[in-house]
Amino acid sequence: MKKLIALIICLTLCLGTVAALAAEPAAKVKIGFIFLHDENSTYDLNFINGAKEACAKFGIEPILKTNIDESEACYEAAADLADSGCNIVFADSFGHEDYLIQAAKEYPNVQFCHATGTKAHTEGLSNYHNAFASIYQGRYLGGISAGMKLNQLIADGKITAEQAKLGYIGAYTYAEVISGYTSFFLGARSVCPTATMEVTFTGSWYDPALEQEGAVKLIGNNCVVISEHADSMGAPSECEKAGIPFVFYNGSAESACPTTYIVASRINWEPYFEFIINAVANGEEIPADWTGTIATESVLLTDVNEKAAAPGTAEAIEAAKAKLESGEVKVFDTATFTVNGETLTSYMADVNTDPAYEKDTEAISDGYFHESEYRSAPYFDLQIDGITLLDTKF
C-alpha cells in the first residue's frame, strides 16, 4: 500500500513538472481584461467566462476590470493594466476602441486586442488588433429554429401562413445589428418561405426596461416568434410571461424561461483568447483582424430546448451547420434576398471607418455578400425585402 502511495506521489510530481514545463512559455504572459459591465450583463458574462476558461487552460491568472465606461476611464484602465505588467490587454465593448488605440500608441510593447472594433486594419499599429466571429452564421441557424417554430404554428392551425411574422429587438441601426437580424431572418425564411419580420430598436446595448418594452410592442403587433440583439434578460422574461417562443443571444436562458426559450447562439471567445496568449508566448504576430467561425468553434449554439422548439429542430440545425461549414450554403447568398425588389450583383460597403461613412469596398462577388472577410466586424447594412423596421431613430 505504502509503495503504491509513493508511486502515485512520484507520478504526480513528474506529471506536474512536465505540465509546468509545457506551460512555461505561457507563464510569461500576463493578460488583463476590460469589461463594460459586470456578470449581470449577458454580453459581458460571455466574455468573462471565456477569459476564465482560456486562462485556466494555461494556468495563468487574468486581471479582470469590470464596469469600465466607454470614456477616458477605458484608457486609464488599459494604461493601468499595462503599468501592472500585462503584455496583453483586451477590451470587450465597441465604444472602448478609440481609448484602446490611444493606449496602444503609448505602450508599443503591449498587445491591445479589441472585440467588435473596426479600425485595426486602417490604423497601422502593429500592436492593436480587432477580433470578431461570424456570428451571422449562428444567427442563421437560430433563424432556422424560429422558422421551424413558425411552420409548427401554421401546421397546428394557430396562425395562417401569411401571419408567420417574426419580431426582433435590436440595439442600434448599426451594421453588426443589421447583419444579425438579416441572417436570422434568412435562416427562418429558408425553412418557412412566407415568413416576414418586424424590427424595433432600443438605442442602447443594455437596457432591460427598453428591451422589455420592445418585446411588448412586437407581441402587440402579432409577432409570434421573437429574437433579439441586446444584452439583458428584459425581452426574454417578457416573452416567457406572454408565452411567446424566442431565440436568444449570448447564452442560454433555459433556467429563467423554461417554456419559451428555444435556442441561443453565442460567440465563444475562448479560441481567440487562447490564440492571442499562444501568440504572445511564442513571440508570434497577432493579425489586425481575426474572425472566428463555426469551424473554429467560435460560433456556438446552445442545446435546443425541446419543450419550446418544434420537433426536429436540433436535426435541422445540425444539417444546416454542416452545409455552412462545407461552404455549400452561404448565409448572404444573393439569390435568397432582394433589395427593393431587385437581386443585387454589386454593393459597396463601408469597411474603412470614417466620419463621412464613405462606401469603399466591393462586398458582393461569386453570388454572395462577403461578410466579415475584409475586416472582422460585420459591415452588411442592406435593408432587404420582407423586413419592416418599426423605428430607425437610433
Binding site: 470614456s71 488605440i101 470614417d354 437610433f394
Partner: protein, 371 residues
C-alpha cells in the same frame, strides 16, 4: 396645562451648543474607525476575505503607481469643480440639482465646436470658441430655472432636475448626428489624429491643467463667498429673504446672478471633461458628479476649502471600490456596500456632534421626571 408626573424617557436628546473643534473631530475620527470596523466585520463574514488586505487594496487603488495618483487628483479636481459650482446657490438655499445638465450642455457646446469648427478655424480659435460657448451654455441652462424662480416662484429643485433630462436628450440627439461609424450610437474620440480643440497639456501631464484650473477656482470661490459683497448678499438671502429685502438687497437679482455664475462654472467643468481629458461626448460623461457634488457640499458645510477634503474622501472610496472588485473578484456592488457603510457613519456622526444623548439616570427622582 396639567402638571403631571411622567416616567422619564430612557433616552434624552438635547441640542448641544458649539463643541470645541477637537471634540468634534474626535467624534468624526471615532466614526470613521467604527465604520472601518463594521466594514471589516462584514467583509470577513460575507466574503471570507482578509479585511486588512481589502483595506490595503483601497489604498493601492490611489497610491500604488504614479498614474493612479494622477487619476485620483484628476477625479478630485472634476468633482470639486462641480461642487464649487453648486455652493453659491446652495448657500442661498437655492437647491440646484441641475449641475449634471449644466455640465452636459457645456460639454455639448465644446464637442460642437470641436466637430463643426475643426475645418474652418485654426486650433487656438476653436479653443477660444469652446471656452466661450461652453461657459455660456452652462450659464443659460442654469439661469432658466432662476428666472422662473424669480418671476413666478417656481420650485427650483424640480425645475433644475428636469433640465437635466432635457440636456441628456439633447446630447443623445447630437450623438446620433455625429456618430461614427454610422448607426454605432457613439462619437468616439473627437479629432484623435489632429488633436484639434484638445486643451493643451502642461509639462506632459494631461491632467495637470485641469487640476491647476480647479485649484485656482477653489481659492477664488473661497474669497468670493467670504470677502466679496456678492458672497455676503448670498449669505443674507440664504438666511432670510425678508431680511435681505429689508436691508435693500434685490433678491431676484441675486438669485439670477448667482445661478448665472453657478451654471457658468458647471459649463466650464463640461469643457474640462470634454476638451481636457475625455475628448468625446456621451450621456454618461458627467459620471453622476452633479449629484455627488451635493454630498460633497453638504459634508463640507458649503465651505470650499473643506470640500477639497470631502471630494478627496468620496473619490478615494470610489477608486478603492473599483480596485476591490478587481483584486478579489467581488462584484462592484460589494464595494458599494462598503462605501455606503463609511458614508453612513460619517453623515451619522454629525448628529452626535449637534445633539447630546443622555440616558435616564436611575437614582435621580426615582426615574420620574416632572414634565
Amino acid at each position: 396645562m396639567r402638571n403631571e408626573t411622567k416616567r422619564e424617557p430612557l433616552i434624552h436628546i438635547t441640542r448641544r451648543g458649539m463643541l470645541p473643534w477637537y471634540r468634534a473631530w474626535a467624534i468624526r475620527g471615532g466614526a470613521i474607525a467604527l465604520a472601518l470596523l463594521v466594514c471589516a466585520l462584514i467583509t470577513t463574514l460575507v466574503t471570507h476575505q482578509d479585511p486588512l488586505a481589502v483595506f490595503a487594496s483601497i489604498f493601492e487603488a490611489s497610491f500604488s503607481t504614479q498614474r493612479r495618483t494622477w487619476i485620483l487628483f484628476q477625479n478630485i479636481a472634476m468633482l470639486l469643480s462641480v461642487s464649487l459650482a453648486v455652493i453659491p446657490a446652495f448657500r442661498m438655499r437655492f437647491w440646484n440639482l441641475g449641475a449634471e445638465g449644466q455640465m452636459l450642455v457645456g460639454g455639448l457646446a465644446t464637442a460642437a465646436c470641436m466637430i463643426c469648427l475643426r475645418d474652418i478655424f485654426p486650433n487656438w480659435l476653436v479653443i477660444v470658441c469652446m471656452v466661450i460657448t461652453s461657459i455660456a451654455a452652462g450659464a443659460v441652462w442654469g439661469v432658466i430655472p432662476a428666472l422662473f424662480k424669480a418671476k413666478w416662484d417656481t420650485n427650483e429643485t424640480l425645475f433644475t432636475l428636469m433640465m437635466n433630462y432635457v440636456a441628456i436628450q439633447l446630447v443623445s440627439f447630437f450623438i446620433i448626428v455625429w456618430e461614427v461609424p454610422k448607426g454605432a450610437g457613439k462619437i468616439g474620440i473627437i479629432n484623435q489624429s489632429t488633436e484639434i480643440g484638445w486643451l493643451p497639456t502642461i509639462g506632459g501631464q494631461k491632467y495637470l491643467l485641469n487640476i491647476i484650473i480647479v485649484a485656482v477656482l477653489t481659492v477664488i470661490m473661497y474669497i468670493y463667498l467670504r470677502y466679496a459683497k456678492h458672497g455676503y448678499e448670498i449669505s443674507v438671502v440664504g438666511e432670510s429673504e425678508r431680511t435681505a429685502r429689508y436691508v435693500g438687497i434685490q433678491v431676484d437679482k441675486v438669485i439670477i446672478r448667482t445661478m448665472l455664475f453657478s451654471g457658468a462654472l458647471c459649463g466650464l467643468t463640461g469643457l474640462l471633461l470634454v476638451g481636457g481629458t475625455d475628448h468625446t461626448l456621451t450621456t454618461t460623461i458627467t459620471g453622476g458628479r452633479g449629484f455627488t457634488a451635493v454630498m460633497v457640499a453638504w459634508l463640507a458645510k458649503f465651505n470650499p476649502i473643506w470640500m477639497i477634503g470631502t471630494s478627496f474622501l468620496l473619490v478615494f472610496l470610489e477608486r478603492g471600490a473599483g480596485q476591490i472588485s478587481t483584486s478579489f473578484g467581488l462584484n462592484q456592488s460589494f464595494s458599494d456596500i462598503l462605501t455606503g457603510i463609511i458614508l453612513f457613519f460619517i453623515i451619522g456622526c454629525e448628529f452626535f456632534i449637534n445633539y447630546r444623548i443622555a440616558f435616564r439616570h436611575p437614582g435621580k427622582n426615582g426615574g420620574k421626571a416632572h414634565v
